[in-house]
């Protein structure tokens, strides 16, 4: 338990840093952000001007400290203010519409990529020098491709040249989102190509890392001892080598998550997938700062939460982590 409490404390600090950065960045930037935004949206009402001032802290309604407290209170109530590009829509409404799409697509694809990549890494590490090692340079190439570029290639090959998959969007036009078969199957069909893209690019990274840790682990004496005892291969690989190699792999998963999720979100743009990525692009192109900032917070909190879950899994699977917690 002490381990989990320490980690929880750490994530709270990280969340606080993210919130504070988010609060101070617009206040420290050169120029008057409110004027800049207002000049881009001539149709904004004076009420929006005051709302923007309050959010960006330009008009100084109250001291900085009061603004900060009010801001923390707003975030705690999921109140991210009014959107400027689609005024008077609430930012939180826009987020609520897009988060489920991203969470389902990116979440599922990332977990699949991690599981398959780790399994392949175990195999490649155990059969070091086997056929899997021969495809390593190809995998490194896949790993180095930007997500969105692979998305462009996949679309060209599988949607434009061969009409195997749809050209984009989250579901076929004319359907109304809801819990019915027509919509669900269409959404699934439209998510296949984006999911495949995420799996292909992130798979290689997990596989290479697991392979390297496996190779190092297999050199350990206890693996040799297990083999010398005459245990069946699969037992030596899974229960002795792979189980111990999993700790750095899971920790790496947590740390790489932010990177993977960011890449996947940019990729959504290519597929015009109705998730956070497309929302982010719209926010950037229309200088919609309240929305940009809210998206930053949402992604950060999602990554922190995922890291906390990974820590819980670590405690469950690895006695060393429990011992480390008890030791302090």
């Amino acid at each position: 338990m002490p381990f989990i409490l320490r980690r929880l404390g750490f994530y709270l600090v990280a969340a606080w840093v993210a919130l504070t950065l988010n609060f101070f960045i617009p206040r420290l930037m050169p120029g008057n952000a409110v004027q800049a935004i207002m000049s881009k949206f001539p149709n904004l009402q004076p009420a929006a001007y005051r709302a923007l001032e309050a959010m960006l802290g330009v008009g100084h309604p109250g001291s900085l400290w009061h603004q900060y407290l009010a801001y923390l209170g707003d975030v705690a109530h999921f109140n991210f203010g009014t959107d400027v590009a689609e005024y008077p829509a609430q930012v939180s409404t826009l987020l609520a519409e897009t988060i489920p799409w991203t969470l389902t697509l990116v979440g599922t694809a990332t977990v699949i990529a991690f599981l398959v990549g780790t399994a392949l890494g175990i195999l490649a590490g155990w059969r070091h020098g086997g056929w899997l090692d021969r495809v390593l340079p190809g995998l490194m190439f896949l790993q180095a491709i930007p997500y969105f570029f692979l998305a462009l290639i996949m679309l060209t090959l599988l949607a434009v040249t061969v009409h195997l998959f749809p050209l984009g969007q989250g579901y076929a036009g004319g359907l109304i989102p809801g819990w019915n078969w027509a919509f669900a199957s269409s959404a699934l069909y439209h998510s296949l190509l984006p999911a495949l893209t995420i799996v292909l690019t992130s798979l290689a990274g997990w596989m290479l890392q697991m392979r390297n840790v496996m190779i190092t682990t297999i050199g350990e004496d206890y693996v040799l001892a297990a083999q010398a005892k005459g245990l069946p291969s699969h037992r030596v690989v899974l229960s002795y080598a792979a189980r111990n190699a999993l700790l750095p792999q899971l920790q790496g998963f947590g740390l790489a998550l932010g990177f993977v999720v960011s890449g996947a979100i940019i990729m959504e743009i290519v597929f015009s997938y109705p998730g956070i990525g497309l929302l982010l692009l719209n926010a950037v192109t229309s200088n919609d700062f309240p929305l940009m900032q809210a998206i930053f917070l949402v992604i950060t909190f999602a990554v922190l939460l995922a890291n906390l879950i990974i820590d819980l899994v670590l405690v469950a699977v690895d006695p060393r982590v429990r011992a480390q917690g008890a030791g302090r």
Partner: protein, 352 residues
């Protein structure tokens, strides 16, 4: 490990004396391939902009040159507004590489400063610096980059370089701190302390020289991050869109519907250039890893002695001198001699 023995593992080639092996020859194949590939891009970045066939921004008004397929006049075709893709690519490679190298230098310097100070100062300093490092490691960089660059005026590259470097140091700092902690406990550091060397001298002449390979690997990783992040940021339009980098090329291709128009020559070259640069850096890094950790070494060589795969449970293999090469009649005559039995062993028979 058997794989580290300084003996040629190919029985046909006599082991060269180690003295003759240059540094380059000793590099793993992956590192060599990566270095050569990266060298090509550096070369393209240096001479490319000098030999561009056209001005990358020049919009040829001729209607027939809009979205022209690659031909002799335009080796990589043209964009929708008649711009030459090859010229854009050559200028873009320089711009992207320049930015990435600059970010790599600044961020690596920050990593070394933070990592070494945390480990050397210790105590509260270590706690605070490690906490900051870990917090910035776990906060996803890209969304933060997006709001920072969104607020900053989009005029030059300076803002992009500074922001990318400002968020690119934590991973390196963490690794360097761990390594410094390990080195700090070694005897030679204690010895130099005893002889009265100052802390700064110990850092500069004892600790950092021992971390050069780690710092180099970290630099390569940071350059990789900078390429990926800068291209992604430009792709969503957060960059100076009137200059040509690989990211802005992709941005224009995407926003002007290159994909829907089937103009693969427009978006494929910049994307492939990014992917190949990335591959070169990953290869370089993996190769350097293998140099430091012999266990990771290449498929054909790892765990093989005298061409035969050796499992950890096998008895320790004993290497012997490779058989002399014989040709023609000599080989035929030799096959009757008793010593020919030894050849089979060396060629992958029983090492016992």
């Amino acid at each position: 490990m058997t794989a580290t023995l300084p003996v040629s593992t190919d029985p046909a080639v006599p082991a060269a004396p180690p003295r003759q092996l240059g540094r380059w020859r000793r590099l793993p194949l992956k590192a060599k391939a990566g270095a050569v590939l990266l060298g090509l891009f550096v070369l393209a970045a240096i001479i490319g902009p000098l030999v561009t066939p056209y001005d990358p921004s020049y919009q040829n008004p001729a209607f027939s040159l809009s979205l022209h397929r690659p031909d002799a006049a335009h080796l990589l075709g043209t964009t929708q507004s008649g711009q030459d893709v090859l010229s854009q690519l050559l200028v873009g490679i320089r711009m992207t590489l320049e930015l990435a190298l600059l970010v790599g230098v600044i961020a690596t310097a920050l990593s070394v400063i933070v990592g070494v100070s945390a480990a050397v100062l210790g105590g509260v300093w270590d706690e605070v610096l490690s906490l900051i490092t870990n917090v910035f490691l776990v906060i996803p960089a890209l969304p933060l980059l997006i709001i920072l660059l969104g607020y900053l005026p989009k005029t030059g590259q300076t803002a992009t370089v500074l922001v990318l470097a400002g968020l690119g140091w934590p991973w390196g700092a963490r690794v360097i701190r761990a390594q410094t902690l390990a080195i700090r406990g070694r005897d030679f550091i204690a010895a130099s302390r005893e002889t009265g060397e100052s802390t700064w001298r110990i850092i500069a002449f004892e600790i950092i020289p021992n971390e050069v390979s780690l710092i180099a690997a970290n630099f390569v990783n940071t350059v990789l991050y900078a390429i990926g992040a800068s291209v992604a940021l430009a792709f969503i339009g957060l960059s100076n869109l009137s200059s040509w980098s690989l990211g802005t090329m992709l941005y224009w291709a995407q926003s002007q519907q290159a994909l829907q128009l089937g103009a693969w020559w427009w978006f494929a070259p910049p994307g492939l250039a990014v992917a190949l640069m990335g591959t070169a850096l990953v290869l370089l890094n993996t190769g350097m890893d293998e140099l430091g950790n012999p266990r990771l070494r290449d498929a054909a060589r790892a765990g093989r002695v005298g061409g035969r795969r050796v499992r950890p449970t096998d008895p320790t293999p004993v290497l012997q001198a490779p058989p002399p090469r014989r040709s023609g009649l000599a080989a035929f005559a030799h096959s009757f001699s008793r010593s020919s039995l030894l050849d089979d062993r060396a060629r992958g028979g029983d090492p016992r």
